[in-house]
Amino acid sequence: MEYFVQQLINGLTLGSIYGLIAIGYTMVYGIIGMINFAHGDIFMIGSFIALIFIILLGVTAGSSFLLLLFALLLVLVIAMALTATYGWTVERLAYRPLRTSFRLAPLITAIGMSIVLQNYVQVVQGARVKPLQPLISGNFTIMEKVTPEGNFLVNLSYIQILIVVTTFILMAAFSLIIAKTSLGRSQRACEQDRKMASLIGVNVDRTISLTFVMGAALAAVAGMMYLLYYGVIDFYIGFVAGVKAFTAAVLGGIGSLPGAMLGGLLIGLIETFWSAYFSIEYKDVAAFSILAIVLIFLPSGILGKPEVEKV
């Protein structure tokens, strides 16, 4: 039981990170119907930028709480802004020229961009893993079990709380943006019918750019959380996390924002529980298999709108 609760906590944390990345996939897919394969690498860029600025600011676990809080907020804002610029540039260079083209062309440029970003970071920042001393340590012990071998503690660390809370705040904020603002309205209009939207005066290019910017900013948050949680990053984390997050987006129903979050949480939980109870090697197999099984029964994912085939 205690073990279960601990895994639940870990799974939710990981799932929140996946969910944040998955939102970027889902938003882009919703609006231009393409898989932005480079999105995972945008996430990786975000975590590198966060790493660089944390080191630059020189905060450590020993810094006073207020200073640490302020520094982390600053880093978050910088990382979001710079990563968003990367997202914007990728769209501008690799996807916009192909907007009216057929659907495989942007898929290939997306894969190309993913290769570019990975190797760009590898060339400039080096291929070695980058460690970061834990900044936020400490935890609550919420359960305790006495066993002959020793005590098993169920811990809820501060950083886990931070990740889950941030995720849900951002999730709510972005849902509000899409539901209430004129940007959100333009996005939904483009989603329905891009040509029509442009005819009635929606600036389609700008809307799509902003979608990429928003997705990248969220990915930067995820990247920073990842960095703080695991404490090591390298240029390759984008691929693995990206594939998982994309899986999450599809599992939840691609195009659906709550779906992306739900999918992220599910993938996080599946992975964590599989590693805990069965085998850590096959955790990805479990996640992918569940995706395939879900899609067989729900071909548009869990929360996706079923495609009506009007003849």
């Binding site: 080191i55 659907r103 898929l107 190309g112 570019v116 590898q122 599809v250």
Partner: protein, 457 residues
């Protein structure tokens, strides 16, 4: 520019400068973080430190500024610009190479074939050239195989490398556990790969579009992970070595009387095996090509293409779309299986590392860059991409420009990725985008790529 159209003149030189300035500004923002601030671990200091690198940023910004300006002045000016509102839209470049393709298709194909056949006897063909040619041909074969699935049937398969892996491991394991030879294993590997294609395809082929893409990607990863972790059976990450080499009708390529050289009274040379492998893969690739061309003209091939054009119409004409998709999937998988067992016998060693997603992406890129459904396009794209990748290994001359610290190998994939983006933006429909009809009453006229569908699955 004297040849610029009247519309292009409206953009003045200052506009171009402004435009380039903006691009440089963006580059400055981008470069400042990742390029300008490098994380390294210094000796003696615990943890990482950040080292600023101003020259790199300045260099990058300058390159962007000048590059953008030159492009704007000399390349984009030539392309007709269509004013829409107060903005300029560049007409997507890349008129299909229709006419060239047609002429190319007639003469280029046979010429290429003749060249491929005599290549081993040309004076330039040393060990390096032959190895490279074998590699290129392997990708040509894989491209042709995937072309059936993506180009003809319009099904997006992002896990094609899984079947390549199945083929390679089938041969390696059959040889290891049952002592079977290459020629027995080759068809078995193809059959096994096709069988896996059916097993994996059956549940997922009713998914549409990108759902199919992610599930195929997932299957590719699953197979790789299983190969990696099923240590007792596949030897895990250590891979399988000592895979038997193919024999020439029972003659091994070895020294002595009973070897190939001895039997034919030749002097032993390690090149014999290489040349033999070359012809083997050439034959396999040509078989793939031949079968594909034949299949296209049969009802099943037409059904594949019809499926790509309109699945609902297919069903209204009594075509069992599930079976049709499965045959496409299985046929593509079978050729990947053949290629896989060739890969195993050529390398003598395989490990899961050779079957990562990037391989699938590479094969898909070859198919899309070549032009979906175009056989000759795949050849050109494979030569360009694989050849290019190899040439990028030889970037040492750039040291002259960048100084001795320059390490070319790490730039290889960077340039490769950029090239992928640039070619695709330049020719979104691929190098050869026309489609050849499979039957005609009068003369066969190539069909412009604009009309050809791209599939939903």
């Amino acid at each position: 520019m004297t040849t610029a159209s009247p519309a292009a003149k409206e953009r003045s030189f200052t506009d171009s400068i402004k435009d380039a300035g903006l691009a440089a500004l963006v580059a400055l923002v981008l470069a400042s973080a990742i390029m300008g601030l490098r994380t390294t671990s210094l000796p003696g200091v615990g943890g990482l430190v950040v080292v600023p690198d101003l020259p790199l940023v300045v260099g990058a910004v300058l390159v962007v500024f000048v590059g953008r300006l030159l492009l704007d002045l000399f390349v984009w000016r030539k392309i007709i610009r269509i004013p829409v509102g107060d903005k300029w839209y560049r007409r997507p470049g890349g008129r299909p190479l229709a006419h060239h393709a047609q002429r190319l298709g007639i003469m280029f194909g046979p010429a290429l074939l003749v060249f491929a056949v005599i290549l081993p006897f040309l004076p330039v063909s040393d060990r390096y050239v032959m190895d490279l040619s074998i590699l290129v041909l392997t990708y040509v074969m894989l491209g042709w195989g995937l072309n059936i699935v993506v180009g003809l049937a319009g099904l997006l398969d992002l896990g094609y490398v899984a079947f390549y892996a199945v083929g390679a491991y089938s041969y390696a394991l059959l040889a290891h556990y049952f002592d079977l030879g290459f020629w027995v294993c080759l068809p078995l590997a193809g059959i096994l790969a096709a069988f896996w294609g059916v097993i994996l395809g059956f549940p997922v082929l009713r998914l549409r579009g990108d759902y199919l893409a992610i599930v195929t990607l997932a299957f590719g990863e699953i197979i790789r992970i299983v190969l990696l972790n099923w240590y007792t059976f596949t030897n895990g990450p250590d891979g399988i070595s000592g895979i038997p080499r193919p024999s020439f009708f029972g003659l091994e390529f070895e020294r002595g009387e009973h070897g190939f050289a001895g039997f034919f009274g030749l002097d032993y040379s390690p090149m014999h095996r290489i040349i033999f492998l070359y012809y083997l893969i050439l034959l396999l690739a040509l078989l793939t090509n031949f079968v594909t061309i034949r299949l296209r003209r049969l009802p099943v091939g037409r059904a594949w293409e019809a499926l790509r054009e309109d699945e609902i119409a297919c069903r209204s004409l009594g075509i069992n779309t599930t079976n049709t998709k499965l045959t496409a999937f299985a046929t593509g998988a079978m050729f990947a299986g053949f290629a896989g067992s060739f890969f195993a016998t050529r390398q003598g060693f395989i490990s899961p590392e050779s079957f990562t997603f990037i391989e699938s992406a590479l094969i898909l890129a070859i198919v899309v860059l070549g032009g979906l459904g175009s056989q000759i396009g795949v050849v050109i794209a494979a030569v360009v991409m694989i050849g290019g990748l190899e040439i990028l290994r030889e970037l040492n001359f750039l040291k002259v420009i960048f100084g001795d610290n320059f390490d070319p190998t790490s730039y290889r994939m960077l340039i490769f990725g950029l090239a992928m983006v640039v070619i695709m933006v330049w020719r979104p429909r691929g190098l050869i985008s026309t489609r050849q009809p499979t039957i005609a009453l009068g003369g066969r006229k190539p069909i412009s790529g604009e009309y050809v569908g791209e599939g939903q699955g």
